[in-house]
């Protein structure tokens, strides 16, 4: 395994196999991007990971490309435009809900324009809510803010069109909205490569108050200029060649874009509907009216295939209406307005519209599946083996007599999983730091115990503000801050300032005015239970910082240290936890809920057992077993010990 990923170095006309996000990174290198900032969020986090990996291994790239893990999306988008105003090409990847956070600065950035540089936002939509707390149709931002929206389908389009996005942005002084989805971002295909640009020139900011200060009267002037800019983009559409027309003689046609195009093509083939004309839009805002009218004029019916709330359907119905076209527009009368589409779904709906028999193989497979579906055991995502957050939930349950008279404000991060069984201990979840904010209102209306969760990265993202307000109003809240050193949920990106120990979360809390603050370790559950019991007796804001590195990262590091020592011929102390004399009290499996513990039957006797290849030796089950049925076996007590590192 080599350290440099060759796919980002191969020359023009070579081919590489890439997922959508990797293709975007390659396209950025070919476009000469100089600055990238983002807050991690599925499905765009791995764009940043790829940049980070390239930068780590390439000194020349570090001369002209900067990648920041930003503290939140609003900071990221403004950072980006700052670099663009100096003249750089900049990329801001974010997930659809990240755009909500970024929308305030973006609404002004759109007015000002990113020139003289160029700015592209990669927005990862998530129909089906595959890695998000909701599935909003983010496309409507383009109507409100007047941002051109490009929607790629394949990795090749991701690579080629991101370059077009930069050119469009630079030429028209407008941020371009490059909209992918979870499926587009994480599908792998063959990409034909282009030439890489290395923008090494120094940049410079030039004062231009009317352009950069969108306050009256410039705010209105820039609004007018924005309308003009979007019309200029519309005029240029025919030259861009982003739309694709597949001809057919049927008087019912289809308009689609992005990944639904893929499902549509395969569904039509499956139904043997090979004469249906298709218009695949590569840019969905603004729309090239002449091209759409030309397509619609040959049709009696047009089917719009798009995920979530009707966007194209509304536009196309408007075009038909304004141009007196007698074309029936069929969209979400038949297609669902929620969830992710698939070939199967599109094929079933098209069969209905065209009065065709759906594929019998498909129907049979689905029907048979429905007959046994209920015997499949549910597998909810849960905390990994040894997760310090699971052990914290356990201590909270014990300190509150199983959540008696207790409300738990959940939040976004791995602890989001605490609402799944068997833990079931988040009462509500809103958005990044929404839990602590809601806890403020709650605490002023109820005397229940109120506990709020937040992770280190979420705390820095938007959590400091509600903490300051909670302190100001002396709210009775116990806030748990999980300082695990990583943005773990999205795949272990660095937490700004925490991973590299440049800032201290406990000092921030003190500076905000938190009077009662304890740093605790959930691998010592009995102590943690006592700390929580003490916190319950105090008034005002209580902060308990759980300082334990993410178990996955901690165990990876520990295992690599052990491997190194063993390769050097050293013997290493080995600890195992083994269950004997299990009383089946279920404390470890149901109350703690560690996935390394399995229920099994040995010699006709039901008992719990620890899977040694899944146990990371955190020792929490050993500490909490009420029957002392878990034994700690020290295999080589006198050999070198490798402990988990200090966070």
């Amino acid at each position: 395994m080599s350290s440099k990923d060759n796919r980002f170095y191969l020359g023009e006309n070579k081919e590489a196999l890439m997922i959508g996000n990797e293709a975007i990174v390659r396209g950025c290198l070919e476009a000469g991007v100089g600055f990238v900032a983002q807050y991690p969020g599925t499905p765009t986090s791995d764009i940043g990971e790829t940049f980070q990996m390239l930068l780590k291994n390439d000194a020349e790239l570090r001369e002209y490309l900067v990648h920041h893990w930003a503290i939140n999306e609003a900071v990221a988008v403004s950072e980006c435009v700052g670099a663009a105003w100096a003249g750089s090409r900049v990329l801001n990847p974010l997930k659809h809900v990240g755009l909500n956070v970024a929308s305030d600065p973006l609404s002004v950035i759109a007015l000002n324009g990113p020139g003289p540089g160029a700015m592209v936002l990669v927005v990862g939509a998530d129909p089906g809510s595959l890695g998000s707390h909701q599935e909003q149709n983010d496309r409507f931002y383009s109507w409100m803010l007047h941002l051109p929206v490009i929607e790629p389908w394949s990795p090749q389009e991701n690579k080629d069109w991101i370059k077009i996005a930069f050119e469009l942005s630079e030429k028209h002084d407008i941020p371009v909205y490059f909209r992918t989805s979870t499926r587009v971002a994480h599908s792998r295909g063959i990409v034909k490569l282009g030439e890489i640009q290395k923008p090494k020139e120094k940049h410079h900011f030039t004062r231009n108050i009317p352009k950069y200060c969108s306050l009256p009267p410039h705010a209105i002037n820039n609004h007018v200029r924005l309308y003009e800019r979007i019309e200029e983009v519309r005029k240029e559409l025919p030259k861009l060649g982003l739309n694709r027309y597949i001809e057919g003689t049927n008087t019912t046609g289809i308009v689609t874009s992005g990944m639904p195009f893929g499902y549509t093509m395969e569904a039509l083939n499956q139904l043997n509907l090979n004469d249906v004309p298709i218009m695949k839009l590569g840019i969905i805002y603004p729309i090239n009216y002449d091209e759409i009218i030309g397509f619609l004029q040959k049709l009696n019916r047009v089917i719009i295939i798009e995920e979530l709330e009707p966007f194209l359907e509304v536009k196309i119905a408007e075009i038909c209406h304004k141009n007196n076209l007698k074309v029936e527009v069929i969209g979400q009368k038949y297609f669902p307005k929620f969830g992710e589409y698939s070939t199967g779904l599109v094929s079933e709906v098209l069969a209905k519209i065209f009065n065709k028999q759906p594929s019998q193989i498909m129907l049979k497979a689905q029907k048979y599946y429905n007959s046994f579906q209920n015997i499949i055991p549910k597998r909810f995502p849960t905390f990994c083996s040894g997760c310090p957050e699971r052990a914290t939930l356990y201590a909270i349950k014990k300190a509150t007599n199983d959540l008696e008279n207790t409300v738990i404000a959940g939040d976004i991060g791995c602890y989001v999983m605490s609402f799944f069984p068997p833990n079931e201990c988040s009462d509500f979840i809103i958005c990044m730091s929404g839990g602590l904010s809601a806890a403020i209102g709650l605490s002023s209306k109820t005397d229940q115990n109120i506990i709020a969760f937040i992770g280190d990265s979420t705390f820095l993202h938007t959590g400091m503000a509600p903490l300051a307000e909670a302190v100001n109003y002396d709210c009775n809240i116990i806030l748990f801050i999980f300082v695990n050193n990583w943005v773990a949920m999205t795949g272990h990106q660095e937490v700004v300032g925490v991973t590299n120990h440049k800032l201290s979360i406990s000092k921030i809390c003190e500076a905000i005015g938190v009077k009662w603050l304890k740093v605790a370790d959930s691998y010592d559950p009995h102590n943690l239970i006592r700390t929580i019991e003490k916190a319950k007796t105090k008034k005002g804001v209580k902060v308990i910082i759980i300082r334990r590195e993410c178990a996955l990262q901690a165990n990876r590091f520990r295992q690599s240290e052990i491997r190194k020592l063993k390769e050097q011929g050293e013997k290493v102390r080995e600890i195992m936890y083994v269950i004997s004399n299990c009383q089946m009290c279920m404390e470890c499996a149901r109350v703690l809920g560690c996935p390394a513990i399995r229920r099994t039957t040995i010699n006709g006797q039901e008992q719990m057992q620890i899977d040694q290849d899944r146990c990371i030796r955190c020792g929490v089950c050993f500490e909490i077993c009420p029957n002392h049925a878990i034994n700690k076996i020290d295999l080589y007590p006198f050999d070198k010990e490798v402990s988990f590192r200090e966070p």
Binding site: R183, H186, R188, G189, M259, P381, C384, A589
Partner: protein
């Protein structure tokens, strides 16, 4: 046994891989796709899920490829995900996870399944039941005649003292079944050398699975 399907070069080959987080579903998917590319397949499109990748969740990936593109543009590969009933090969790293996505299988599917179970935590907590292996086998045999279980995790522990090598044993086994056509064995090995840590050990695990597959599939 009718598992020796004849594939046309313009056929779209459909592979489902299912397992639980951390078992290497995405790793094996990528290996197949890189090997297909090295074997000069003209079209490759596959879908994988990130984000909950280590949270004990259920993981499925789809790999699809065409050796040669059809002249009729409407017959080619456009979707990275497989349609219901479309799988040629269903590679299962965990038995209950094979059931979870069995709507992608049909009578032409070849199932290669690791028999080691990973019960979800709700099963350990007695809040849910894990079906018997015989039940899972019976359900799958109603779909296709070609259902093959091997104890790959045990083989991995016995031979390599590393449960993770299960995934490479499963890949070798599936390759021997003939249901991943048009990809040369040397291309898998080159990709393993290029992409993975411990390439020698992984190639040994691949070979072990392949030999086991030869015993079963001939």
């Amino acid at each position: 046994m009718n598992h020796k399907t004849k594939f046309q070069e313009t056929d779209i080959i459909n592979i489902v891989i299912a397992g639980t987080a951390g078992q290497g579903v995405i790793t094996i998917k990528r290996l197949i796709e890189f090997a297909a590319h090295d074997s000069n397949c003209q079209s490759i499109f596959g879908s994988e899920m990130h984000g909950l990748a280590q949270r004990e969740g259920a993981i499925t990936s789809h790999t699809r490829y065409q050796k040669i593109l059809s002249h009729n543009v409407r017959k080619n590969l456009y979707s990275p995900s497989i349609c219901y009933g479309g799988a040629d090969l269903y590679l299962g790293f965990e038995p209950s996870e094979v059931l979870r996505r069995a709507q992608f299988a049909s009578e032409r599917t070849i199932f290669c399944i690791n028999s080691r179970t990973i019960p979800p935590i709700l099963v350990a907590a007695k809040m849910d039941e894990y079906p018997k292996l015989e039940t899972i086998e019976k359900i799958l045999k109603e779909i296709s005649n070609n259902v093959f279980f091997i104890n790959a995790t045990e083989m991995a522990l016995d031979h390599f003292d590393d449960a993770q090598k299960m995934n490479m044993i499963m890949l070798g086994f599936a390759v021997a079944s003939g249901s991943i056509p048009f990809i040369k064995i040397d291309d898998y090995k080159n990709v393993i050398k290029r992409e993975l840590r411990q390439p020698d050990m992984n190639i040994k695990a691949f070979d072990l699975g392949y030999e086991k597959g030869k015993e079963v599939f001939g």
